[in-house]
Symmetry: C2
Subunit: 337 residues, 2 copies
C-alpha cells in the first residue's frame, strides 16, 4: 500500500482536488488558484511525490531524450563532442543517450532500438561515413551529422572546416620556409581526410610547389600509424623537412619515430598536427597544432537537433567551424607555449 511511490491521484486525494489539478500544478499552469496550488504543493511535499518521466513520455508522445552514436566513447575527439552535446542537451532539459557502435551492424541495431522503438526524439551521428553505417541512418527523423558534411542535402551537419584548417596548417609550414612537406592522412575513405588533403594541396599549389604524391602517406589516426609513416619515409630515403599530420596522435607517432631515428624536431623536421589534445603541449617537443573547439561541435549539433525537433527551423544547415593555430616547439625553436 504505502510501499510504492505516490502517484498523481494519491496526491490529488490527499489534497482533496482532482488529479487534473495536481497535473496543472506540477506543470506550472496559471489556471489554478494560489490557495489550491499551496494545498497541492503541500501534499506533494508531504508525500514526497515525483512525477514519473516515463508516464509523461507516454502521454506526451515524446521522450525528451536524444541519442548520440559514435564509433567509440574513448577517442578524445569523440568524447569531447559527446560531452559538449550532453551538456547542451541538459541545458534544455533533455537527456543524451550516448552509445558506441563499432561497426555498421552494431549501428543498425542501435538505431533500430533507439529510433525504431521510439526511445529517443532525435539522433546525432558522429562520423557517419567512417564506414557503411550511413546507409542505416533513419529516414524522416530528426538527425544531425557530426564530423562531416552530409552527402544527402536534407541532412544537417556540424563539422570542422577541414579544407581550411589543413590549408592553414600547411601555410604555417610554408611560412617557415619549408618546401618539402609530407602529409600523413587519416583513412582516405573518410571525407575529413580527403578534405584535409585538399587543403594541403591547395596551399602547396598556391605556393607554387608541385604536388608530390610520394609525400603523402595514409594513416588511421593512431600514433602507431604516424610512426609507421615516418619510418616509411626514412626507408625510402626521402625524409621531408616538415610533416603535416592530420591529427595530434599521428603527429606524436611521427615525433616518436623521428626521435628514434635521431632526427631532431624541429630543426631537421618540423611537425604540425590537428586537434590540440590536452597532452599535446607535453609532447617532446611540445606540438604545434590546429586547435579545434570540439565541445562546441557537440553543442551546436544539439542545438541544431533541438531546432529540428521543435520545428523551429526547417532549413537544412551545414555548419563548419574553424580552428586556431597554436605554435609550439615542434615547428619553431622558440615557439611559445
Amino acid at each position: 500500500m504505502s510501499k510504492s511511490r505516490p502517484t498523481l491521484r494519491d496526491v490529488a486525494q490527499k489534497a482533496g482536488v482532482s488529479h487534473q489539478t495536481v497535473s496543472r500544478v506540477i506543470n506550472g499552469s496559471d489556471d489554478v488558484l494560489p490557495e489550491t496550488r499551496a494545498l497541492v504543493e503541500a501534499a506533494i511535499e508531504e508525500m514526497g511525490y515525483r512525477p514519473n518521466a516515463i508516464a509523461r513520455s507516454m502521454a506526451r508522445g515524446q521522450t525528451h531524450t536524444l541519442a548520440c552514436i559514435s564509433p567509440n566513447l574513448t577517442d578524445y575527439t569523440f568524447a569531447s563532442v559527446i560531452e559538449g552535446a550532453e551538456v547542451e542537451a541538459r541545458q534544455h532539459k533533455y537527456f543524451m543517450l550516448s552509445s558506441s557502435a563499432a561497426d555498421p551492424e552494431a549501428f543498425r541495431e542501435l538505431v533500430d532500438e533507439l529510433v525504431g522503438h521510439r526511445r529517443v526524439d532525435g539522433l546525432i551521428v558522429i562520423n557517419p561515413y567512417a564506414d557503411q553505417r550511413f546507409e542505416f541512418v533513419p529516414k524522416n527523423f530528426p538527425l544531425v551529422f557530426v564530423g562531416v558534411s552530409a552527402h544527402e542535402k536534407d541532412i544537417c551537419s556540424v563539422s570542422l572546416d577541414d579544407e581550411k584548417v589543413a590549408y592553414e596548417a600547411t601555410r604555417h609550414l610554408l611560412s617557415l620556409g619549408h618546401t618539402s612537406i609530407a602529409l600523413v592522412t587519416g583513412p582516405m575513405e573518410e571525407d575529413c581526410s580527403q578534405d584535409r588533403a585538399e587543403g594541403y594541396h591547395r596551399a602547396l599549389t598556391e605556393a607554387g610547389l608541385s604536388f608530390d604524391k610520394s609525400m603523402v602517406i595514409e594513416g588511421d589516426w593512431s600514433a602507431t600509424s604516424g610512426r609507421d609513416a615516418l619510418l616509411s619515409f626514412i626507408e625510402q630515403g626521402r625524409v621531408p623537412t616538415a610533416v603535416f599530420a592530420q591529427n595530434d596522435r599521428m603527429a606524436m607517432g611521427v615525433m616518436s619515430a623521428a626521435r628514434e631515428a635521431g632526427i631532431k624536431v624541429p630543426t631537421q623536421l618540423a611537425v604540425i598536427g590537428v586537434d590540440d589534445m590536452p597532452l599535446s603541449s607535453y609532447f617532446d617537443p611540445p606540438l604545434t597544432t590546429m586547435r579545434q573547439d570540439i565541445p562546441r561541435i557537440g553543442l551546436e549539433a544539439t542545438r541544431m537537433l533541438l531546432d529540428i525537433i521543435q520545428k523551429k527551423s526547417t532549413a537544412t544547415c551545414d555548419m563548419k567551424l574553424s580552428a586556431e593555430l597554436v605554435v609550439r616547439q615542434s615547428t619553431s625553436q622558440k615557439g611559445g607555449d
Copy 2:
C-alpha cells in the same frame, strides 16, 4: 490516419486476432499456434510495426535503462569505464545513459531527474568521493560505485586494488636498486590516492627504507601537476632517483619537466605511472606503468548492477581488480615495449 505508426491493435485488427495475441507474438510466448503466429508476423511485417519501448516501460514498470554518472566524459579512464559498462549493458539489452556532473550540485540534479523521476532502473557512480556528491546518492535504489570502495557497507563497488598496485609499482623501482623514491599523488581527498600512497609506504617499509614525507607531493592527476611536482623537487634541491606518479598523465608531466631540466630518464631519474593510456608507449621515453583493464571495471560494474536489479544476488560486493606491470624505457634502459 495512416500517417502515424501502427500500434499493437492495428496489427491485431489486420491479422484478425486480439491485440493480446500480437503481444504474445512479439514477446515470444509459446502459447500461440504456429499458424496464428505466422498470420500475425505477416501483418507486423506488412505494416512495418515496431513495439514502442516507452509504452512497454510504462506497462512493465521498468525502463531497461541504466545510468552512469562521472565527473566528465573526456578523461580517458572515465571514458573507458563508461565504454566498458555500456557495451556490457547492451549485451543484456539494456541502455546506458552516461552523463557528466562536474560538481555535487549538478550531480544532485542529475540523480533527481534520472532516479527520482524513474527514468532509469539502476545507477553507476564513478568516483563518488571525488567531492561531496556521495551525499546525494539515492537510497534504496540499485547502485554501484566505481573507482573506490563504498564507505557504507551496503553499497557495491568495483575498483582497482590501489594499495596493491602502488605496492607493486614501488617494488619495481626498489628492485632496480632505487632508494630515493618520490611519490606524486592524486588529490589526497580521494581514497584512491591515499590507498596508493599506502601501498607505496608499505613497499618502502618492507624494504627497510624510512618514509620521508618530503618525498611526497600532491598532484591533481593532470600532466601539469606532475610537472610542477618535479620542478618543486628540483627547487628544493632534493631530486630523487625515481618517481612513482599515481597516474600516467602526471608521469608524463614529470618526464617533461625532467627533460627541460636536463635530467635524463631513466639513467638519472626512473619514472613509473599507473593506467597505461594509449599514448604512454609513445612518451619520451616510453613509460613504464601499471596497466589496468579499465573497460573491465565498467563491465563488472554493469554486471553487478544488473544482478542487483534482477535480485539475483543480495550480497554486497566489493570487487578489486589488479594491474599488470608493463616495463618500458622510463625505468629501464633496455626495457621492452
